[in-house]
C-alpha cells in the first residue's frame, strides 16, 4: 500500500522532467509550421494561442496535468486531435502485437530454459545457452531485415505489415476479418519483437530451475519416489517460476518501447508508428503522452512485480 503512495510523487517528478525536456524543443512544438513559407507569423501566434503554448511554462504544466487527470493528455499540435484518442485508437493493434510476442517469448523461453536446466552441461544445454547469447546480441531491426530477405529469396509470400490499413479500431468489427490472414501478418513482427525476450527468459529460467533442482525439497520429493514428471512440474517449475514472474513483469514495458523499431519496419499501425510519425512532425503533445504512458507502465509493472512476488513467495515480506 505504501509503495503505491510512493509511486505518485515519482510519477509527478517524471512528468515534470519530461515536460521540461520536451517543451524546450527549439520549435516549441511548431517546427513544421515555422518552416512552411505560407504560414505567416500572425498565424503562428494564433496557433500558439489556440494551443495554449504562449502561456508561461508552469501554467502550461498545470494545465497539462489537469488534462491528464481528465484523461485527454492535451491536444496534438499537428492535427489538434486529443492525444489520448490518438493513443487509444492504436492500442488494440499494439496490444495484439505485444501480447503475441509476450506469449511466444514466455512459451519458448520457459520451455527452452527448462529443457536446458534438466540436462545441464550437455550439448543441448550449451546450444540453448549459446542461442540465448545470440538473441541478446542481435540488433532486432537487422533480424527483421534478414527475415525479410530470406523469405523473399525463397519466395515465401508472408506479407509484411498490416493488410488492413484502416485505423485499428475497426479491425475487430471489420467483416473482412480472417484468422489465417491475421496470423500470417502477425507472425513475423511478433517473432522479431519476442526474440530478445526469448533469450532473456530462457537464460533466467535455466538458472532459476538449476537453483531449485539443488534444493532440499526437490531431493525429498525424489526420495519419496515421486515420478520425474511430478517432481519437475509440480515441485520444481512452480517454485522456479516465481522469480520469472518478476522478470517477465519487469520486461513487459520494454516491449512497448521495442515496438517502436518493430512497428516502423513492419509498417504496423500501432503506438510505435504513432511515435515515429509524431517525432517527424515534432508533435510534442503526442511524444509527451507516449513517454508518460510508457513511464507509467514501467512504474506500474515495477510495483506489480513486487506485489506478485510477495504474494507468490511467502518467504518475502514487505514491512
Amino acid at each position: 500500500m505504501r509503495r503505491t503512495f510512493q509511486a505518485v510523487p515519482l510519477l509527478l517528478l517524471i512528468s515534470m522532467i519530461l515536460f521540461l525536456i520536451i517543451h524546450n524543443a527549439p520549435g516549441g512544438g511548431l517546427g513544421p509550421y515555422l518552416q512552411n513559407p505560407h504560414i505567416t507569423p500572425a498565424d503562428i501566434a494564433r496557433l500558439k494561442h489556440n494551443l495554449g503554448l504562449d502561456k508561461p511554462l508552469p501554467v502550461q504544466y498545470v494545465t497539462w496535468l489537469g488534462q491528464v487527470l481528465h484523461g485527454d493528455f492535451g491536444y496534438s499540435t499537428s492535427n489538434s486531435e486529443p492525444v489520448f484518442n490518438a493513443i487509444v485508437e492504436r492500442l488494440p493493434s499494439t496490444f495484439l502485437l505485444m501480447g503475441t510476442a509476450y506469449f511466444i517469448a514466455i512459451v519458448i523461453g520457459v520451455s527452452a530454459g527448462l529443457f536446458a536446466a534438466v540436462r545441464p552441461y550437455t550439448t543441448w544445454d550449451y546450444l540453448i545457452t549459446t542461442f540465448a547469447f545470440f538473441g541478446q546480441s542481435m540488433p532486432v531491426f537487422w533480424l527483421a531485415l534478414m527475415l525479410q530477405l530470406a523469405l523473399a529469396v525463397h519466395g515465401i509470400p508472408l506479407p509484411f505489415g498490416y493488410l488492413l490499413q484502416l485505423p485499428s479500431a475497426e479491425i475487430s468489427s471489420s467483416d473482412t476479418f480472417s484468422l489465417s490472414d491475421r496470423i500470417s501478418h502477425l507472425i513475423l513482427p511478433a517473432t522479431v519483437l519476442a526474440f530478445l525476450n526469448i533469450a532473456l527468459y530462457s537464460r533466467f529460467m535455466r538458472s532459476s530451475m538449476l537453483e531449485v533442482i539443488r534444493t532440499d525439497y526437490m531431493r525429498t520429493a525424489a526420495a519419496k519416489g515421486l515420478s520425474f514428471r511430478t517432481i519437475l512440474f509440480k515441485h520444481g517449475l512452480k517454485n522456479a517460476m516465481i522469480p520469472l514472474v518478476t522478470v517477465t513483469a519487469l520486461t513487459l514495458p520494454a516491449l512497448f518501447g521495442g515496438a517502436i523499431v518493430t512497428e516502423s519496419i513492419f509498417a504496423w499501425p500501432g503506438e510505435g508508428r504513432l511515435f515515429i510519425t509524431a517525432l517527424g512532425q515534432e508533435d510534442i503533445a503526442i511524444l509527451l503522452g507516449f513517454l508518460m504512458i510508457n513511464a507509467c507502465l514501467v512504474v506500474f509493472f515495477n510495483l506489480f512485480a513486487d506485489v506478485v512476488y510477495a504474494w507468490l513467495d511467502p518467504r518475502v515480506k514487505y514491512e
Binding site: 503512495f5 521540461l20 527549439p26 511554462l57 545441464p120 531485415l145 534478414m146 539443488r214 520425474f228
Partner: protein
C-alpha cells in the same frame, strides 16, 4: 532418471584458491567463448584504429568507373563484376568494405566514449549515495521524508518562480550577462545563501522562509542573466527545482541523506524508457538546426548522459556493503578523509562489478547507436557507422542484399564478442560465482 545427476552435484563449487588478479585471469582464460570474444574484439579494434591505413578505398568516394547505377556485388559472388571491391559497392557506389572499417571506428568510439561518461557520472553519484547512505532504512520515515521533499519542491518552485517573475516584471533589470557571469554569480549566491541558512535552526519557519527567498533569488538571477532569455520562467523553475531540491533535502533529512536525492533522481531516469527518450532528445537536437547538428559528440553526450542510473545503482549497492568492511573502518580510524576512502580504498574493491557492467554496457550502446542511426536519428550520412549504413538498406534489399547483410553482421559479431567477454569476466571476477 535424468534428475539424479543435477541433484547429486555439489551445492556450491568451493573455491579454495585465494581471490587475486592472477587467479581471476586464470579463470577467465578457462572461459573459451570469452577468449574467442577477446580475439574477435581485438581484431575489430585494430581495424577501427587503423581504418585509414587498412581501408582499400575512400569510404565516402564514389567509384565512377564501376558504379553505373547497377548493383556491384561482392567478389565472391561475381569476380568479374566486383571491380576490386571485395564486398561490393553500396547503394551510392561507395566501397562497402572501407565503409565498414570506418564504421567500426565510429560505432566503437561512440560506445566506448558513452560508457566512459556513464561510468564517471554513475560511479561518482553511486559512491556518494552508497558511502553516505543510511544503513537501515525505516520505511515509515522514508515515505514521510519523501512527502516532505515533494511539498518542499512545490513550495520552492512555485514561490521562487512567481517571486522571480514578479520582481522581473516590476524591476526589469535585464543585465544580459554572459554564461560565465551567470555561473559565478549563482555559485556566489548559493554560497552566501547556504551560509545564511546554516545558522538558522533546522525545521523552523525562519529556515523555510530563508530557503524560499534564496530559491526565488537564484531563479531570478538565472532568468535575467541568461543571454537571450530575458524572462525565462522555465530557467527560473529549473534553478528553483535544483536549488529547492538541494536545500529542501538538507531540511528534510540532513546532509546524511544525500543518498535519497541521488536515488530518487536515479529512479526517475530508470522509469523513463531509454530508447523513446533518446529518440525524442536526438529528434529535438536534429530539429534545432540541421540534421548535421547530430554530431558524434552530441550522440555520445545524450547516450552517456542518460544511461548512468544503472551504474549509479550498482555502485551504491557495492559501496553500502564495502564501507562496513574492516579496512574502511581502519582507514577512517587513521584519519583519512571521506573522499580519499571513497576513491583510494573502496573504489579498487568495487571495480569487479563495475567492470562487468561497463563491458555489457558497451555492447548495449553499440546496439542503441545502431538503432538510432537506423531510424535516422543517430550518426548522419555520409558518415559511416554500422547503423547508418543500414538506414537505406531496406529499400533495395533484394538487389543489393550485401549492403544489408554485412553491417548487421559486424554489429552482431562485435556485440556477441563483448557479451561473451562480459560473461567471462563475471565468472572470473566473482569469487562466489555459481555457474
Amino acid at each position: 532418471m535424468a534428475l539424479a545427476a543435477p541433484i547429486n552435484q555439489p551445492m556450491i563449487e568451493e573455491e579454495a584458491e585465494v581471490f587475486s588478479k592472477v587467479t581471476a585471469w586464470k579463470r577467465f582464460r578457462r572461459h573459451k567463448l570469452a577468449m574467442a570474444g577477446v580475439v574477435v574484439l581485438a581484431v575489430m579494434v585494430f581495424v577501427a584504429i587503423f581504418a585509414w591505413k587498412l581501408a582499400p578505398f575512400d569510404p565516402n568516394g564514389i567509384d565512377e568507373v564501376h558504379w553505373q547505377g547497377n548493383p556491384v556485388p561482392p567478389c565472391f559472388v561475381s569476380a568479374a563484376q566486383c571491380g576490386g571491391h571485395f564486398l561490393g559497392l553500396d547503394e551510392n557506389g561507395r566501397d562497402l568494405l572501407s565503409r565498414l572499417m570506418f564504421g567500426a571506428q565510429i560505432s566503437l568510439t561512440v560506445a566506448v566514449s558513452a560508457v566512459i561518461m556513464e561510468l564517471v557520472i554513475g560511479t561518482l553519484l553511486g559512491a556518494l549515495a552508497g558511502y553516505y547512505g543510511t544503513v537501515t532504512l525505516s520505511w515509515r520515515r522514508f515515505s514521510w521524508g519523501l512527502a516532505v521533499m515533494v511539498l518542499w519542491l512545490a513550495i520552492v518552485t512555485v514561490a521562487g518562480a512567481f517571486a522571480g517573475y514578479l520582481i522581473a516584471r516590476y524591476f526589469p533589470l535585464q543585465l544580459h550577462g554572459g554564461l560565465t557571469q551567470l555561473i559565478v554569480l549563482t555559485l556566489l549566491g548559493a554560497k552566501i545563501a547556504f551560509d545564511v541558512v546554516k545558522n538558522i535552526p533546522p525545521k523552523s519557519p525562519a529556515r523555510i522562509a530563508a530557503v524560499t527567498v534564496a530559491g526565488a533569488a537564484a531563479g531570478y538571477l538565472a532568468a535575467i542573466l541568461l543571454p537571450g532569455k530575458p524572462l525565462a520562467l522555465d530557467v527560473m523553475i529549473l534553478v528553483g527545482v535544483l536549488y529547492g531540491g538541494l536545500v529542501g533535502f538538507q531540511f528534510g533529512f540532513g546532509i546524511q541523506r544525500v543518498d535519497h536525492v541521488i536515488m530518487r533522481v536515479t529512479d526517475v531516469f530508470l522509469s523513463i524508457p531509454l530508447l523513446p527518450l533518446l529518440l525524442v532528445l536526438t529528434g529535438i537536437v536534429a530539429a534545432s538546426s540541421t540534421k548535421a547538428a547530430l554530431s558524434f559528440q552530441t550522440i555520445v553526450l545524450i547516450i552517456g548522459g542518460l544511461s548512468w542510473p544503472s551504474v549509479a545503482r550498482l555502485v551504491r549497492a557495492t559501496y553500502l556493503s564495502l564501507r562496513e568492511r574492516e579496512y574502511a573502518e581502519a582507514a577512517r580510524a587513521v584519519g583519512n578523509s571521506d573522499l580519499r576512502i571513497m576513491l583510494r580504498h573502496l573504489l579498487p574493491n568495487a571495480m569487479a562489478p563495475i567492470t562487468v557492467q561497463a563491458t555489457l554496457d558497451v555492447a548495449n550502446v553499440i546496439i542503441l547507436e545502431s538503432v538510432l542511426s537506423f531510424l535516422g536519428f543517430g550518426i548522419q550520412p555520409p558518415t559511416a557507422s554500422w547503423g547508418s549504413m543500414l538506414a537505406n538498406a531496406e529499400a533495395n534489399l533484394q538487389e543489393q542484399w550485401w549492403v544489408a547483410v554485412f553491417p548487421g553482421l559486424c554489429i552482431l559479431v562485435t556485440v556477441l564478442a563483448i557479451n561473451f567477454i562480459g560473461d567471462g569476466l563475471r565468472d572470473a571476477l566473482d569469487p562466489n560465482a555459481i555457474k
